[in-house]
Symmetry: C2
Subunit: 443 residues, 2 copies
């Protein structure tokens, strides 16, 4: 090329939840008998969750419908009846909401929404991220700022609640921070934040004149007696707010790519409104987001079987959460927080239990060589080393905590396994493998 | 906000094909009886094209299939069998292709692909655009460069073929240009570029060490005896090339959001390869693109009825193209190029026929006031003024040529009308309205 067309910015983009899939693929190429237990991706379908029959019926009905509108483009901000339904749905949970359907924006999955909000923020300004972070948020934020992400701590010693002192300190010391990202229920920790915490975050936003981004894609997945607090209610008429929601996880349909942004309290700040309009314009340029899911949305959520489905789903997630944390909690090397929402858990290694000499046996010699080569990379985080060995040795695929920008070593797993026996078997193997891994340098 | 979160960059984003929809919506609010003929959006579904029954059957079969995989995430670069099918499909038309399925990248519609390629290009470098331009390309390019787009002319006096002298001149004088965008068949002009032209573009890319982006989303829609030349064949082993294709238009399914990028000849340049990898990584961050279309792709294109469908589709487009250009060609005020591909046409006004005093009668007084206010904006292009009057007066919605960054006044229409009688009636009305509009200042 007559000028260098590539540059170093992609190094700020990290999404190791998917990068580990390439490691799996490579091992499978080397070892035809290699079987994987995918505990790495939050895809209920891949974990055998059946799609509820009423969703299939709705889709087939929509496809057969005369006029074929589910095949056509929808409005660039989203099909108007779907946007009007979002307003109704928002009000159901947050009665004070005065959300305008022209400030509801559908996107092809929340990934597209996330890219757009960081891309349209005036250059160099920052939205502070919770850490452990969700990589799409943290990477898109840091890619657009062209600097490492700025973050506040979720505290593993306090049920992964945000460390509010840390958050305020960071806001005070970095005038470039203009927004706070809240992911609640949280991915990757499975935490559900308390009303008190959220109220304090709203107060901080008020005090420092910031906006809030609330990623609530898991808000219907709350259990263990926990209750989801709607930050929309708390922030009402106080703080400009973007709420992100989507269909992907409420029924197993992540491949449908249907998410939306709600822009709340835009009347409070003309500049924030202009920024929201820029996000709308950015999405407009991609013409429209996937039509089919938008057009069954209302019928899906208002279906008489939907609430039953969600209740059964949450019951199962609660069981999994309890049992996985019970099993892994037996390990003397781990600190385990049970989850109360979403379907992720992040056990952490206790201090100083990991080193760069620990290993697990890998049967296939080619796979062994491949992993040994991978872990020999200088600077490889110790939990990533563990995750590679666990994968190649047992077939169990989880994601290192450091891949979520965590300062603690650990790993993220999904609580989606359908079969209780298999679930217990997998996590008993993980617990045993940790013992073996840590003992390996004493042999 | 404690710092200004919005900025001026969105002014570089223009997509008036959709912005005019807001004007329509506004008029409909003011005048309940207002009926629109949408000749502005390339959506076959909206124009009454039936979705072929075999596509519906394939979708219903896929949805009913055990395992529910069409509901799940697909691989972040696309479902591997779909990527392998793309390789096969590329080779069918371009036998010399050595496309690797790891360098096929699915996106949720080509809009997402277009955003990604400009976003990942090293900052400040340029991909030169054909003009009249397709706004998503031109806007994303200029947004990411943070400057107005750079462009080469399509020549209306030479069947909208690229002006190669202009292209070379621009490349020579602007060392920041590293790539050439070719849209073939062309949106918005309906041109199909000749083999000779494309060979010369490949030679220019070789001479100046540039890459080529070939947007071929309409490559199956070619008629009037024209033949589509595969630039992949010409560029083979000579020039790094990105090809963009998708399902949206081959069957009426723009709402499915299924497009893909093929990265060809990456072995020629390490830097280009790194840039392609950055585009892949950017898409990875959004997790995956819509699963369902990927999973029916092969069965759709290999269906025994598909080629019959495309043939019938092209026959109809050819008829429309001939008849619309015949009718509008009667106007003494227009220069009309018949189209040979895609489903757009861009008649141009002859020099000096438009002025800022011409009008058409608008029945509804509120709508009249609204349009008069719109056209009173200083600097409004004269063809946009015409388009607003045409819309409010006749209900016929087209898009001004200047909305495609054209230096000539004119308008883009779609050649998708199903009913030949209605088609002739609509364009006879357009022709008459032009007479009346131009005569209005002589009254």
């Amino acid at each position: 090329m007559r000028q260098k067309v590539s540059d170093e910015r992609p190094s700020l983009m990290r999404y190791e939840i998917r990068e580990i899939v390439d490691v799996v693929q490579k091992i499978q190429e080397l070892d035809k008998d290699f079987k994987v237990d995918n505990e790495n991706i939050g895809d209920p379908v891949a974990k055998g969750w059946p799609v509820p029959p009423f969703l299939k019926d709705l889709l087939i009905e929509a496809i057969k419908q005369e006029g074929d509108k589910v095949f056509g483009y929808s409005h660039s901000r989203g099909w108007p009846p779907a946007r009007k339904w979002v307003v109704k749905y928002a009000k159901k949970f947050s009665p004070s909401s005065n959300l305008d359907y022209e400030y509801v924006l559908f996107t092809s999955g929340l990934g597209a929404a996330i890219s757009a909000i960081y891309e349209m923020l005036s250059h160099g300004l920052r939205i502070i991220q919770p850490t452990p972070s969700y990589p799409t948020h943290a990477s898109m934020e840091s890619f657009n700022a062209n600097e490492e992400s700025v973050s506040y701590e979720l505290d593993p010693d306090n049920k992964w609640e945000p460390n509010l002192a840390d958050l305020e300190e960071k806001i005070k010391n970095n005038p470039k921070i203009v927004g706070i990202l809240v992911i609640n229920p949280n991915n990757p920790t499975g935490a559900v934040h308390s009303k008190e915490t959220l109220e304090k975050i709203v107060q901080l936003a008020e005090k420092y004149n910031l906006f809030i981004v609330s990623d609530e894609v898991y808000f219907r997945m709350v259990y263990n007696g926990y209750k989801f607090t709607h930050i929309t209610e708390l922030a009402h008429n106080r703080v400009p707010l973007m709420v992100m929601r989507g269909v992907s996880k409420d029924v197993p349909w992540p491949g449908g790519r249907c998410g939306w942004i709600e822009f709340h309290n835009i009347h409070l700040d003309e500049d924030f409104k202009k920024y929201c309009d820029a996000v709308k314009k950015r999405i407009l340029l991609e013409v429209c987001s996937t039509s089919l899911p938008q057009m069954v949305l209302e019928k899906l959520y208002d279906h008489p079987d939907f609430e039953k489905w969600i209740a059964q789903y949450n019951k199962h997630l609660e069981d999994n959460s309890k049992n996985i944390s019970r099993i892994l909690g037996q390990s003397p090397y781990l600190n385990v927080n049970p989850t109360n929402g979403a379907f992720y858990m992040m056990p952490l290694f206790k201090d100083n239990v990991l080193n760069d000499r620990q290993t697990l046996p890998i049967k296939n010699p080619e796979a062994k060589k491949f992993i040994e080569n991978l872990v020999s990379k200088p600077g490889l985080p110790l939990d990533k080393r563990f995750v590679y060995y666990l994968l190649a040795s047992t077939g169990i695929c989880v994601v290192p905590a450091t891949s979520f920008f965590s300062k603690h070593y650990g790993f993220r797993l999904t609580t989606l396994e359908r079969d209780p026996k298999k679930r217990d078997e997998i996590y008993s193997r993980v617990e045993k493998a940790i013992d073996e891994y840590i003992a390996s340098t004493n042999v």
